[in-house]
């Protein structure tokens, strides 16, 4: 009796561990009792699969752990497993994510709630290990939910939330969790690991319901369509993506209630914005040098804030535009590029500008900055330089709409 109580108590208590972002996601997979996992090597995401391998080998996790022969197969295998009702996990980085592109395209179309980790990495060529967000962003138009996290804790929590939202019958869409290569995937931090009981309370079992591929539920899935059908099918996915915001808010509220950790607005996080004149924006671990830079600038009397986008798909355009309308100017730092796009800026910048266009409120100038490509460090002086340019714009002085920061010129 005493022993049992002790075990109960231990299981009910959150533990703290010093782990990397990759390991945090591996732990989330264990807690979520994922059924089928496929691995294929590519840095930096693949450390998550190394951790999972150990969890399986040590008997801490019961799943089919399959090493595939390429990313295309890696994603196809879990896609089919998920169609049969298995909870699945997968992931990749950079060109590996690209190699799986065909599977990535069909996954949301089939309403497969796969959760995948993207260890963000620059696309070849040249082969590079460092972070760039273009890999994950390639699926932004396809029906994937896309989220960027900036700490190992957030990675773990978001993975649990991702399962809950994706597997909700109202949604059934895949979710990619973007973790910056090196800074998040390979950097250890203290992470609170929730108890299994709490996770079970938060995350119901995956129920494929009417779409489960099983002899007891004879259905024909994904027949060939033509112009008579495709628009209607796309419209259904549109409706599902439309519902994500609601389900996501429910999940975050429940998460706060059960785990006692609140993330505020799920879609974006604000830092030092209350009295800010201008704000900077970005995604992922960029938040660290930006926060340091802001603290420094505030000692110099410059009121700079920061808005970190968390969920990129769905994109909370109205909320964001309302929030950004409070400031005199906005500087968006993209760790990606969109060559030839309007104003030749990055992807996030284009999205933020687009969100501002239809906003009813004030529309401050939005400047785009491209920085930190290929994993280059974004330094505090870089951040100060960005803020300086944004101040200029706030004062009505002309500035190039897109600037490259930290480039040797």
């Amino acid at each position: 009796m005493a022993t049992a109580t002790l075990v109960e108590e231990q299981r009910a208590t959150d533990k703290t561990a010093l782990i990397t972002g990759s390991e945090a996601i591996a732990v989330a997979c264990k807690l979520a009792d994922v059924d089928v996992i496929t691995a294929y090597p590519i840095r930096p995401y693949d450390t998550v699969m190394q951790y999972i391998c150990k969890l399986v080998a040590n008997g801490e996790m019961d799943c089919e752990y399959i090493v595939a022969e390429g990313e295309h197969s890696q994603f196809e295998i879990v896609k089919h497993a998920c169609a049969c009702g298995a909870r699945v996990f997968c992931g990749s980085s950079g060109v590996g994510w690209m190699y799986a592109m065909e599977a990535l395209t069909v996954t949301p179309a089939l309403r497969i709630p796969m959760v995948a980790m993207v260890g963000n990495r620059a696309l070849d060529d040249p082969g590079a290990f460092g972070v760039e967000h273009n890999d994950a962003l390639t699926v932004r138009d396809l029906g994937w939910q896309l989220v960027w996290v900036d700490s190992a804790q957030e990675a773990l929590d978001t993975a649990l939330i991702a399962y809950r939202v994706s597997e909700d019958r109202r949604i059934f869409l895949p979710c990619a969790i973007s973790c910056d290569g090196a800074f998040l995937t390979h950097s250890q931090a203290l992470v609170k690991i929730p108890s299994q009981e709490k996770v079970n309370q938060f995350l119901p079992r995956y129920n494929r319901a009417d779409l489960q591929l099983h002899p007891d539920n004879p259905i024909t899935v994904a027949p060939q369509g033509n112009e008579d059908w495709v628009m209607e099918i796309r419209r259904q996915n549109y409706a599902a993506m439309e519902r994500v915001s609601l389900v996501l808010k429910e999940a975050y509220a429940d998460f706060d209630r059960i785990f006692g950790r609140s993330y505020g607005n799920p879609f974006f996080e604000e830092y030092e914005t209350e009295d800010a004149d201008i704000v900077l924006m970005g995604m992922g671990t960029l938040s660290t040098p930006v926060r340091v830079g802001i603290r420094k600038m505030r000692t110099e009397g410059k009121k700079v804030g920061f808005v970190r986008m968390r969920w990129f798909r769905p994109f909370a355009a109205a909320d964001l535009a309302e929030s950004l309308g409070r400031f005199k100017a906005v500087g968006v730092i993209d760790r990606d590029y969109s060559f030839g796009s309007p104003y030749m800026s990055g992807v996030l910048t284009t999205e933020v500008r687009s969100a501002m266009y239809s906003a009813p409120g004030p529309k401050p100038p939005v400047l785009g900055f491209i920085a930190g490509l290929g994993g280059r460090e974004v330094t505090v002086p870089d951040v100060e330089k960005v803020a300086g340019a944004v101040y200029q714009a706030a004062e009505g002085k002309s500035q190039p709409l897109t600037q490259w920061i930290g480039l040797r010129e």
Partner: protein, 390 residues
């Protein structure tokens, strides 16, 4: 603004693909001889074509480029001046493989337009098959054996040029015989073909079909559901498991009838159908087993009844049947409905025997493609002879 002409060619997929393309291309080229602008295209949804499954090609011609543009960037025109059916069995209806429901062959014809059919039949036989239409139209027949060939080897039996010559007569505003003959010589450098076109021009005649005339059957339709009425995840229910059959005479049950796809029936693919002599059947199972379309229902006494909604007329059952004239392929124009042969046989054996004897007189004169090298060369003189007959 000038005049816009639209002509469709309804044909058997693959078997008549080259034929149809030659016709639509030549229409555009001949009209261009007279200063008109045109385009030629196949219905995109019919591709990849399947052997025998009805498909469509179009020629759209305008007096000038601006007129032409009104008829461009469409999968198919709303209405047409001439519908050409290069196989008479197509008059039973068109169920293209990517469509839903069955379209009457004359569906797109404008009032007063012309349905041009390649056939050895008389107009009465064609009208037994073609569905009734609310407006009058003309029916013209290009006499001759229906031309079939395969993907790679074309049977150059002058069907293409004879149809072109006939169009020059039917729709003189589109192009003259002279223009047709010019582009024939330009393309194929064959004066004999130009002569064939002239002969068809001279001989073609038409009858007017009134709204009350034609096949009274209402073709099956399919209503496309709205987006929120469709299941999610691109999933649809599978076909239910089948059931046993019931004997119409004894009411005994047994055997097996598979459930069948309710939205695609495939029978308009058929140009010939198997008729079965149930009295000589030895129940060897081969027709049933080797049928790619699972079209044989297994009767309570273990006979095999070809379901005429599912049969596409490939002829494999006849080919594998070890008993002489137990399964015989018969020209589809001989039949007016898709009724069960086995039920007819069960109800009236003597009547069925007489019916069968009558039907198997009409073996199909068409072969559906390549059988051996030199085959077409052997067939062409005879086909041309038939074409010259009155």
């Amino acid at each position: 603004m000038g005049r816009l002409y639209a002509i469709e060619v309804i044909y058997r997929g693959i078997f008549q693909k080259t034929l149809a393309t030659r016709i639509t291309r030549s229409i555009v080229l001949a009209a261009h001889e007279e200063g008109k602008q045109g385009i030629s295209f196949g219905r995109y949804g019919d591709s990849p074509e399947r052997n025998g499954i009805p498909a469509k090609g179009f020629a759209i011609v305008g007096d000038d480029q601006k007129t032409l543009e009104e008829g461009m960037a469409k999968y198919e025109p709303k209405d047409v001046d001439v519908t050409i059916a290069v196989d008479d069995t197509l008059c039973k209806g068109v169920e293209s493989w990517a469509w839903y429901g069955l379209q009457p062959v004359n569906k797109l014809l404008k009032p007063g337009g012309t349905l041009l059919v390649t056939s050895r039949q008389q107009p009465e036989a064609i009208l037994q098959m073609a569905h009734r239409k609310e407006t009058p139209y003309d029916l013209a027949i290009v006499k001759g054996t229906v031309s079939f060939s395969g993907l790679w080897v074309y049977k150059d039996d002058h069907t293409d040029v004879r149809i072109l010559g006939a169009i020059a007569k039917i729709l003189p505003g589109l192009f003259s015989l002279k223009s047709v003959q010019k582009i024939i010589v330009d393309q194929w450098n064959d004066p004999v073909k130009a002569e064939s076109a002239a002969r068809a021009y001279e001989r073609i005649s038409s009858v007017t079909v009134q709204p009350g005339q034609g096949n009274p059957e209402v073709p099956y339709k399919f209503n496309l559901p709205k987006w929120h009425e469709m299941g999610e995840g691109i999933a649809i229910p599978s076909i239910p498991a089948g059931t046993t059959m019931e004997d119409p005479a004894t009411h005994a049950t047994g055997g097996f009838r598979p459930d069948r796809n309710p939205t695609f029936k495939k029978y308009t693919t058929r140009t010939m159908r198997p008729v079965v002599n149930f009295d000589t059947c030895i129940k060897c199972t081969l027709c049933w087993l080797q049928c790619p379309d699972s079209c044989f229902d297994v009767t309570p006494e273990g006979l095999y009844d070809a379901n005429m909604q599912a049969c596409c007329g490939c002829g494999v059952c006849e080919a594998v049947c070890p008993v002489k004239e137990c399964v015989t392929m018969v020209n589809e124009t001989e039949f007016e409905d898709n009724a069960s042969q086995w039920e007819a046989w069960r109800k009236d054996k003597a009547g069925y025997e007489a019916w069968l004897a009558d039907k198997i007189k009409s073996r199909p004169e068409r072969s559906h493609g390549f059988r051996y090298r030199g085959q077409y060369e052997e067939q062409i003189p005879e086909m041309l002879q038939v074409a010259r007959e009155k």
